[in-house]
């Protein structure tokens, strides 16, 4: 048997070359290759340019050897034998022959058996044209079938969730979807049943496969057994055009392929980006394209007249907007103009608007957050990447439920926890999707997280754990019914105890990191989002500009948002839809939506990746940066931007931390370019004085679910029914305290407001607290929230 020594190239006259201890020399189809220790044969062969056919093997999941398609002849020194190449790692001196008559006969046999029961309905099957079974029947199959008997038949198709259909007769039982559900998503709601002659994948009766990640099973299905409702019978793969882009449904920055046919968006597919999403997408990101082609999209600029909004030309709308801005400056000075938004666009949009606001208008009152974020200084703390977080021995969560807000980050951290790479220490007001996988979960009462952190760090086992090596703190707003102060105080307590810890901001809106970084943040002496809203409510804002911002839906303090919108004298909105806030604007510019414009976006780790334009804009809408450029020109300053690339280059030239993010660098970096962390204003440790809590009250937790009434979800017909709806949840042992039956309407009140919601029990809610999901149908919990208060206590009473 040969060993690695035979590859040693060192000789007497050359200095010793240390052989790579991980190199394994194997012979594949007569040629020698150096593979990596632990690589499976199928992977090593692929790296060597030899494709072994497969159905069940998937690089991101553990091998199972279900389909037997990858049988090849392998000689480990005991003579050649057929082995499933997805199940065996390479060994020194292994001889693999994927083309031998025995290998070929085995593969042909497997294809013939798989096709025995597989229907030949390729002409009407969505997978036809991109189907691994179809492709590999051509490339590795016998070409003919000897099977003349009746094929099996099942009822077709059956919905296994709101989004996914299953054609059981097409299924080849590769275990990819079921493995994904169990291993990757942690939602083992589909499983093989009736194993034997009648094995099939199915859900339990009345328990649908309602995973946030169900769409991935459609993408990895190697046949047409699983199809997605939004794409079913919509197109043939050969009619699709595709452009690689980045999903901006949240700020994880998953790479996707945007696919369209005849200028209509039809499908998004996950692209495997090793540092980010590993090929996975959440269903909100995957199916969110429906909203982009919604009939209610704005097509022309609107100006307010006595009769309401009237469609007008871009020229007239721009002139009207400039008039509003100049009037505002004349009335209250430049700082009476405020700009909110930017996080829903791309870096270029945000940069152009930041230049317009700071340099042309001259106002420091700019914010990309809506009183639901973190002080911008947190972005200047030493940052960890997603990869570094998922490899750190200790991950501390001081964050919202990542499964609801940053779903693919949840997948990455879940993977780290279940594979025992990381131990997750979670601080939360309410059990989250990761609680099941956390090593320790510390539940705190809202407002007291700093004490909870200090107490936890003082315990022996947690102290020993954080001393084991790298610590990454994932920080965000777990509760919209409290101010950011308690979270910032807890972050300070952590950083004081763990000076080497790094931070991963868990901010949610697509490009919030990019918008803040390129300048959509308060200038010197400027107001933050809460300050802007307060000033507007006090009548001090002469002109409020909303760039993809809907304060009435986005700001947790509903009353403050309403007063701000009523108090702002002039409102300009740039948006894709008429929403609650843009309906109040004096001028509305129709904005180009996702996939209608190119550019770059920045994810939570500061990674800049490209966005592709795939379809023509809706109506006359324009990207935000063009609106900013036009307004600047009319206000007397040429920003000098003629194309998106101009702005990308300008960002690289002028924005700290973005030096490496040039158009050229981006073109050669499919996984994007990491920006460097720029220290911004220091974060002040807030002092928190909590008022004594009345024991009759419940402390309120308000947080987001993945599906809510946000415009992107509510305009997607497939997603909007998935929003769970509003209710007030208490622990089942607290139901008696409320004195109402579950399902009955109850009054939830603060001194400021009262809302009515149905009562529900949920044991993930801690005792003494009440939880209301944000932005759902029914009463708005934002009415109870006071942005000036640290926490919110509510009384729940039966009606």
């Amino acid at each position: 048997m040969t060993t690695t020594e035979s590859n040693d190239v060192s000789s007497d006259d050359s200095p010793a070359v240390i052989p790579d201890p991980n190199a394994v020399s194997v012979i594949i189809n007569g040629k020698q290759f150096i593979a990596r220790q632990g690589d499976l044969i199928i992977k090593a062969a692929e790296d060597a340019g030899v494709y072994i056919p497969r159905f069940c093997y998937h690089e991101r999941m553990s091998p199972v050897g279900m389909c037997r398609m990858c049988l090849v002849e392998v000689d480990t020194g005991r003579g050649p034998a057929l082995m499933p190449s997805c199940m065996f790692p390479v060994a020194p001196g292994m001889v693999v022959d994927t083309e031998s008559p025995v290998s070929k006969a085995a593969q042909e046999g497997v294809i013939e058996l798989l096709l025995a029961n597989h229907p030949l309905d390729c002409p009407v099957c969505d997978k036809g044209g991109e189907c691994p079974l179809q492709d590999q029947s051509f490339s590795h199959g016998p070409g003919e079938s000897r099977y003349v008997e009746e094929k099996r038949h099942y009822e077709k198709p059956i919905p296994i969730s709101e989004l996914v259909f299953l054609d059981r007769e097409r299924c080849i039982l590769c275990d990819r979807c079921t493995r994904f559900a169990d291993e990757v998503a942690g939602d083992a709601l589909i499983h093989f049943t009736s194993r034997g002659n009648t094995t099939q994948v199915i859900t339990f009766p009345d328990e649908p496969f309602s995973s946030y990640f169900s769409g991935n099973t459609v993408q990895i299905c190697p046949v047409g057994a699983l199809t997605a409702k939004p794409y079913r019978f919509k197109a043939r793969p050969w009619d699709l055009e595709e452009a690689e882009s980045t999903c901006t449904s949240c700020a994880v920055g998953c790479r996707i392929a945007v696919q369209s046919s005849r200028d209509e968006l039809l499908r998004y597919q996950g692209v495997d980006s090793d540092p980010v999403n590993w090929g996975w997408l959440c269903d909100k990101g995957r199916f969110g394209f429906e909203g982009i082609k919604h009939d209610d999209r704005l097509t022309t600029p609107l100006v307010r007249t006595a009769q309401g909004h009237e469609a007008t030309s871009w020229n007239a709308a721009s002139a009207a907007a400039v008039q509003l801005i100049t009037d505002a400056i004349a009335a209250g000075g430049a700082s009476s103009v405020a700009v909110l938004g930017g996080a829903r666009g791309n870096n270029e949009d945000a940069f152009a608007w930041a230049r317009l606001a700071h340099d042309v208008i001259g106002t420091p009152n700019v914010s990309a957050q809506f009183a639901d974020g973190l002080p911008v200084g947190v972005l200047g703390m030493p940052r960890a990447t997603i990869d570094e977080t998922a490899a750190a021995p200790t991950v501390i969560l001081l964050a919202p439920d990542l499964k609801e807000e940053l779903p693919v980050l949840y997948l990455r951290l879940r993977d780290a926890a279940v594979k025992h790479r990381s131990r997750v220490i979670e601080f939360a007001p309410k059990a989250s999707g990761l609680t099941r996988y956390a090593w320790r979960t510390v539940f705190y009462e809202p407002g007291t997280q700093a004490e909870a952190v200090r107490a936890a760090l003082a315990t022996t086992d947690i102290a020993a754990q954080v001393a084991m090596g790298d610590v990454v703190i994932v920080v965000g707003r777990a509760n919209l019914a409290e101010s950011s102060a308690p979270t910032v105080a807890a972050l300070h307590a952590l950083v004081a105890a763990l000076p080497n810890a790094r931070v991963l901001p868990a901010l949610r809106r697509g490009n919030v990191m990019g918008a803040i970084s390129v300048g959509m943040r308060p200038g010197k002496g400027g107001l933050d989002s809460r300050g802007i809203l307060n000033a507007a409510a006090d009548g001090k804002i002469e002109c409020l500009i909303l760039v993809g911002a809907d304060p009435l839906a986005d700001v947790p303090d509903g009353d403050l948002a309403r007063r701000a919108m009523a108090g702002a004298r002039r409102i300009i909105a740039v948006d894709t839809f008429i929403n609650a806030s843009s309906a109040l604007a004096d001028v509305v510019f129709p904005a180009a939506a996702y996939a209608e414009k190119s550019g770059t976006t920045t994810n939570i780790e500061g990674r800049v990746t490209t966005l592709a334009q795939k379809v023509t804009v809706t109506g006359t809408s324009r990207p935000d940066w063009m609106v900013a450029g036009d307004l600047a020109l009319r206000l007397g300053t040429d920003l000098g931007f003629r194309s998106v690339d101009d702005i990308t280059a300008s960002i690289a030239a002028t924005v700290d931390g973005f030096e490496d993010v040039t158009p050229l660098a981006l073109a050669h970096a499919p996984n994007g370019v990491l920006t460097s962390v720029v220290v911004m204003e220091p974060v002040v440790t807030p002092s928190i004085v909590l008022a004594e809590r009345n024991s009759y009250d419940f402390r309120l937790v308000v947080s987001r679910k993945l599906y809510d009434q946000a415009i992107g979800t509510s305009t997607s017909p497939s997603l909007s029914p998935l929003a769970p709806g509003g209710a007030v949840f208490v622990h089942s042992l607290d139901v008696a305290r409320v004195g109402s039956a579950i399902g009955a309407s109850v009054k939830v009140s603060t001194p400021k407001a009262t809302i009515v919601l149905p009562l529900a029990a949920d044991d993930s809610v801690q005792r003494g607290t009440a939880w209301i999901p944000f932005n759902q149908s029914g009463a708005n919990p934002g009415d109870l929230i006071d942005a000036a208060a640290i926490v919110t206590d509510v009384r729940i009473e039966s009606i």
Binding site: A188, L189, H191, G196, F204, P205
Partner: protein
């Protein structure tokens, strides 16, 4: 449709205590559920999932592999008539035909009074005694139409109650092993050293 009764939950928790991983108790708990209701109900599956920390789909997937777990109501007596080679040669088919006639049902169905379910079975491993059948897995050998009718009469009259308990009964006397008398099984992934019998004789001492 029912979940496990309070008494059975107590037994279930004791069974779970015998295993290093709760999931390992899935099949014993399915037996318990079948003993309770005569078949495995969907509610019981859901309940077992909660008890062992698995999804209902996973419990269903495990349970449906096994022929002897039933998911539809089964008569008090499950009559399996063998149709494999020896029995087929010695009148198994005629016996089934006779049984269908006597009970007034087709193979695979249950009498309206809920007393008998008739099923085909593959080889029952008693070929020298063909044709054979089982009532709730209790053998009857060299069955003739006459002895079949007598058997049904006896079952109806309750004369065999002491020998043949209702379908689903695993055993009349449940073996109880207190947790503290367990053998201390360790989950495979928690095993750190080789068992003593694998060590060299000197090292084992």
């Amino acid at each position: 449709m029912s979940r496990l009764s309070e008494d059975n939950v107590r037994i279930a928790l004791e069974i779970i205590g015998h295993y290093p991983r709760a999931r390992s108790a899935t099949i014993p708990l399915l037996h318990l559920a079948q003993q309770q209701d005569g078949y495995v109900t969907n509610d019981a599956i859901r309940h077992i999932g909660e008890l062992v920390g698995a999804t209902s789909a996973e419990v269903l997937g495990t349970a449906t592999f096994y022929e002897m777990f039933k998911f539809e109501p089964v008569g008090k007596y499950l009559v399996n008539i063998c149709r494999t080679m020896s029995c087929a040669l010695l009148g198994g088919d005629q016996l089934m035909h006779h049984a269908e006639h006597t009970l007034g049902i087709k193979a695979g169905s249950t009498t309206p009074d809920g007393l008998f379910t008739l099923e085909h079975a593959e080889c029952q491993a008693a070929c020298t005694e063909a044709p054979t059948l089982q009532v709730n897995y209790r053998y009857r050998f060299r069955v003739t139409p006459e002895t079949f009718d007598a058997l049904i009469d006896d079952l109806r009259a309750g004369r065999l109650d002491s020998e043949i308990p209702p379908h689903g009964t695993v055993s009349r006397v449940r073996q109880r092993i207190p947790v503290d008398r367990g053998v201390g099984v360790v989950a495979p992934e928690d095993v750190t050293t080789a068992p003593s019998w694998m060590l060299a004789p000197e090292a084992a001492k």
